[in-house]
């Protein structure tokens, strides 16, 4: 009887209402509109027809499967490198060396400098005629003449990854450093007293304890890297011969450069789908970690 007579308290819902409305306007509506557009042949003119799944069929008939594969390949290499360098960086910055605060500050510029500026600087460094890398390699005798890093498929692909890693590593380092600092020094001291080497302590104490942070950061980094547009666009615009065209670049080229909004929307829907899977994994992992820590 009590539950029937219980009054619903609307006040919390009222407080949530503005945020809900804003979310619906800036997230849900564009998403629904993109899905709707993906079933149309919308182009430059204001008129369009519904074409069913034609855009999706056309997308998979063309080069899109190779674009998907390239996106995952690019993401896998980039995220792996960021995680490896991030762990090494965090260990070094966690070491009790004099002036470590200064080192912690010095690692931040790639992340703090506006991305476009950082990428333009890398673009100049990759230049064969005037760039630092080619010039240095020639002086050291590694190259016999100028080499344009962005002009060839493999070197352009790797160059975009190097720049992405340069920008993304500080964030990973700082995140993992925070995780390492939360480990009680007692554990290391006890192991040290028992004669455990540095490597052993790292393998058996540090790594297991920062693993949840590593997993979380890997997933977050994968989402950001998958979505990375500005680095590739500024350096290569997806070239040469599509060697650096990832899903996000392909979507931009189709929808914005060529004004094929219907086909572009179908590509955007695919990106949303992949990112939703990543996000689902991320939330699953976060809730597992939360359960473990409360257990």
């Amino acid at each position: 009887m009590n539950s029937v007579n219980k009054k619903i308290d609307w006040f919390p819902y009222l407080l949530l209402l503005p945020a809900t409305i804003i979310t619906l306007i800036i997230v849900a509506w564009p998403l629904v509109e993109t899905i709707r557009l993906s079933f149309t042949n919308t182009s430059l003119s204001q008129t369009f027809e519904y074409v069913g799944i034609d855009n999706y069929v056309k997308m998979f008939e063309k080069k899109f499967p190779s674009v998907i594969a390239r996106t995952f390949y690019w993401m896998a290499i980039s995220v792996s490198l960021k995680m490896i360098l991030g762990i090494i960086g965090a260990v070094l910055l966690n070491a009790a060396v004099p002036g470590r605060t200064l080192f912690r500050v010095l690692i931040m510029p790639p992340w703090v400098v506006p991305i476009a500026i950082g990428v333009f600087i890398w673009g100049w460094m990759y230049n064969g005629q005037f760039g630092m890398i080619s010039g240095l390699a020639q002086r050291l005798g590694i190259l016999s003449g100028p080499f344009e890093f962005l002009a060839y498929r493999n070197s352009a692909f790797m160059s975009t990854i190097v720049t992405d890693v340069w920008i993304g590593t500080p964030m990973v380092t700082v995140y993992l450093l925070a995780a390492m600092q939360s480990i009680s020094p007692d554990l290391h001291e006890a192991a040290w007293t028992d004669g455990a080497s540095r490597l052993y302590r790292f393998r058996r104490i540090t790594m297991p304890l920062i693993m949840p942070a590593v997993a979380t950061m890997s997933l977050l980094s994968a989402i950001w890297t998958f979505n990375s547009f500005d680095i590739i666009w500024i350096l290569t615009e997806g070239g040469p011969r599509n060697a650096t065209t990832t899903m996000i670049i392909d979507t931009y080229k189709t929808a914005i450069s060529r004004f094929r909004y219907g086909e572009g929307s179908a590509r955007a829907v695919m990106i949303v789908l992949f990112l939703s899977i990543f996000s689902a994994f991320y939330f699953l992992m976060v809730s597992k970690i939360a359960k473990k820590s409360t257990a």
Partner: protein, 403 residues
């Protein structure tokens, strides 16, 4: 009561005054920046037009070249078009087909003021869709000192493709510089550079009937030669669009490159350079790609007729000529002043001589698609991944969708 009445009358007077001053805006998108000398002249003309057309103010927005056309087109397709925009004339057919721009209603006299190949760059279905604003032809710049150092005659620049290749090879082998500056980046001017070879070898992309005729022996030859030039050019042409070649030329890192008349004022002063018409291919005659950019008047801005009147003022014979001379563009109209140009500056000759036999930018319904298809063919041959015949055939098949 009297006070209330006074207040109401004052408020009404204020509102009337405010509405009188709230002039209608004419949004004009201009590509590039506002540093050119021609832009100062344009600003003066805009002020003059505003004085003659009370109630209208012109708001000029400068957008970098890379995003300019994309921005205007996106705004128009979203239903919020600029009134006037500077557009590459190659985009006009696509914009017209999608009902985004209005025809510019040229009188017969206005049409007659342009040479036929120039009028062709803005005409589709018998109507003109833009008012030509900038015109460029291309020519071959060469470094006389590097020619001398390579044992070549600096007063006898190459006239054929073979001579150009041999000259570039000599420079590459006998000096520390590369023979030629080749552009092959994923950018519109890579297609433009290649079209110079198409037109100097008797080729075409789309004919008068609107048929794709890209797959021809002439074009295969042109593409194969473009690929061959890579061997005597700077490393990695795919990292270079045309604008990036000028610094190489200014530093004597390359012996030759093809570009427009604006380079004359921008090459470093200590470079001893010459300029000549683009060398001719085995199947062709002297030629060049004729590129015009136009002022397009967009539909549904609400100020179409005013925008058209402003665009016509800016591009009439007298004002356009002054703008071209200030900006260093090739003159659009064959006016008496043009003949005087060569007398005062002989370097104009290379840019003006090839106009009658030049060819327009292909006029298609998806210009970015066209550009991507041709650039893909160029890059595949420059990287030596595909042979010229196959690359031309693939591009021709793709182009069928865009005619």
């Amino acid at each position: 009561m009297k006070n209330k009445l006074r207040l109401c009358v004052s408020a009404l007077a204020l509102m009337t005054t405010a509405s009188a001053f709230s002039a209608e805006k004419i949004h004009m998108i201009n590509c590039g920046d506002d540093t050119g000398k021609g832009i100062q002249l344009q600003n003066e003309l805009i002020k003059q037009w505003e004085a003659e057309n009370e109630g209208y103010t012109v708001e000029v927005e400068f957008v970098p070249w890379g995003q300019c056309q994309e921005k205007s087109t996106s705004l128009a397709s979203a239903g919020n078009p600029p009134a006037i925009s500077y557009m590459g004339s190659r985009t006009l057919k696509q914009l017209a087909k999608n009902d985004l721009i209005i025809p510019v209603d040229m009188t017969e006299e206005e049409q007659a003021s342009y040479a036929a190949p120039i009028l062709a760059t803005i005409t589709s279905d018998g109507k003109q869709w833009g008012l030509p604003r900038a015109f460029s032809t291309k020519a071959l710049y060469y470094n006389k000192d590097l020619f001398k150092a390579a044992g070549l005659d600096p007063e006898n620049p190459p006239k054929t493709w073979d001579e150009m290749y041999e000259a570039a090879k000599a420079i590459k082998e006998k000096t520390d510089s590369d023979g030629f500056g080749l552009a092959a980046a994923s950018f519109d001017n890579t297609m433009h550079q290649f079209m110079n070879y198409v037109y100097t070898n008797g080729g075409e992309v789309i004919n008068d009937k609107g048929e794709i005729v890209f797959n021809s022996e002439n074009n295969v030859e042109a593409l194969a030669f473009y690929g061959k030039m890579a061997s005597v050019s700077q490393d990695g042409p795919i990292a270079y669009d045309r604008a990036k070649l000028r610094p190489l030329f200014s530093e004597s890192r390359i012996g030759m490159f093809i570009s427009g008349p604006w380079e004359r004022s921008q090459i470093k002063e200590d470079i001893n350079w010459g300029v000549t018409t683009i060398p001719v291919g085995p199947k062709g005659k002297p030629g060049t790609l004729l590129i015009t950019d136009s002022l397009a008047v967009f539909k549904n801005s609400g100020v179409e007729s005013q925008a058209l009147s402003l665009a016509k003022l800016l591009t009439n014979s007298e004002n356009q000529m002054a703008f071209e001379l200030a900006e260093g563009y090739t003159p659009l109209r064959d006016l008496p002043e043009v003949k005087g140009l060569i007398d005062t500056d002989p370097t104009w000759k290379a840019f003006l001589d090839s106009i009658p036999t030049g060819g327009p930018e292909p006029f298609v319904t998806d210009y970015v698609g066209l550009q991507d298809a041709i650039n893909e063919a160029v890059q595949s041959v420059v990287l030596e991944e595909v042979d010229a015949a196959e690359a031309v055939e693939t591009a021709a098949e793709t182009l069928e969708d865009y005619k």
